[in-house]
């Protein structure tokens, strides 16, 4: 078994990794996070095991790059109010839901990352636990708490609108 051409990894996982980046660092910084992730992945690619789960590996790099980005910028979390504006400015696909994106951004770090890894990238809780530096039960709980919080915000908002 040998590694597929890196282009296939980009083709197969590029979109998912971009969504995960947007979920973790926000739409505004997602492009930079994606570029740093794939460049770092390309560098390390020849050394990984051919049977590696490429998507989980890429998401793990993206998460590390997101943390590096935060540290480099030494900035406070982006205020929730500003996120919808930035989403609008980026000309994203028409099915966007600013309320939901804003709610995701407002989650505590572990919950946000767990939700992104589980529901955007379909990662196993075992891999999410490795990425978060915790255990499988804690990863499962973070994802469940995060999704419950999103559901509360999102459904409440929908009811108010109707």
């Amino acid at each position: 078994m040998t590694l597929p051409p890196f282009e296939h990894a980009v083709r197969d996982h590029g979109a998912v990794v971009h969504r995960v980046c947007a979920a973790i660092v926000g739409v505004h910084d997602a492009d930079d996070a994606w570029s740093e992730t794939f460049l770092a992945a390309l560098k390390a690619y020849p050394t990984i095991r051919p049977d590696s789960d490429l998507r989980a590996w890429l998401v793990t790099i993206a998460h590390r790059k997101a943390i590096d980005g935060y540290r480099a910028r030494k900035r406070a979390p982006v205020p929730t109010e500003s996120v919808p504006d930035r989403v609008a400015a980026e000309d994203v696909a028409p099915d966007r839901d600013d309320t939901l994106a804003a709610a995701l951004r407002a989650l505590p770090d572990k919950q946000r990352v767990a939700v992104a890894c589980r529901y955007l990238a379909d990662m196993a809780y075992r891999d999410i636990a490795d990425l978060l530096g915790s255990n499988e039960a804690a990863a499962r709980r973070s994802a469940a708490d995060g999704i419950a919080a999103l559901r509360r915000v999102y459904l409440t908002d929908s009811i108010e609108e109707t």
Partner: protein
């Protein structure tokens, strides 16, 4: 609404953004010395051709019938898995092929990386580059020129496995009876190239 439906309502990534990011990745990979194999495709009268280059030069030209995905997978295995769609490195090769198919070029002036051909096959391919545009040689004559007159069959194998068809002109090797014989791009492609070149030297 399931959890998955809820997340599905999150913004999706814009395809144009992803295309721009992929192009940017190829540029940065090249700048940082990480682009071990760059590839692109070109349209031609003998079908879509895949072109691949290492930093040393053009290393692979592949016909559609070879299966472009399969060819890329073999490059990942034989050269490096750092393979990216990166047209810039192949601009020169694409231009010269265009000129060749338009009848405006007889000799390719491109750096070649012959790492995919070894031993006697490499010797044969090196000799093929001396067969002039518009002329042909028999498999037997090529075997003799390569220093092994008895190795006629091995010459056929070398041509059938030519990693750089068109540019290294294995199509100029024909049977002793004058019929064009087999070709890795298909017999019809071989006839097309030979007739293109015949027209080229008459022009």
């Amino acid at each position: 609404m399931t959890d998955r439906d809820l997340i599905a309502a999150l913004p999706t990534s814009d395809p144009a953004t992803l295309t721009r990011l992929r192009d940017g990745l190829a540029d940065r990979a090249a700048a940082e010395g990480l682009l071990d194999v760059a590839y692109r495709t070109v349209d031609s009268p003998v079908g879509t051709l895949l072109l691949a280059a290492t930093p040393l030069g053009l290393t692979r030209v592949a016909y559609e019938r070879e299966g472009h995905d399969a060819v890329l997978s073999r490059l990942a295995e034989q050269v490096s898995p750092r393979v990216l769609h990166a047209p810039a490195r192949l601009d020169g090769a694409a231009r010269e092929l265009d000129e060749y198919f338009a009848g405006r070029r007889r000799v390719f002036d491109l750096p070649l990386d012959m790492r995919l051909a070894h031993g006697f096959r490499r010797t044969v391919l090196t000799h093929l580059r001396d067969i002039a545009y518009g002329s042909t040689e028999s498999y037997a004559a090529v075997a003799a020129a390569a220093g092994s007159p008895a190795a006629v069959r091995a010459v056929g194998t070398a041509c059938a496995n030519n990693p750089l068809p068109v540019v290294v002109p294995c199509h100029r090797v024909i049977r002793s009876d004058g019929s064009s014989g087999q070709y890795l791009g298909g017999p019809e492609a071989k006839r097309q190239l030979l007739s293109l070149e015949r027209a080229g030297i008459l022009a």
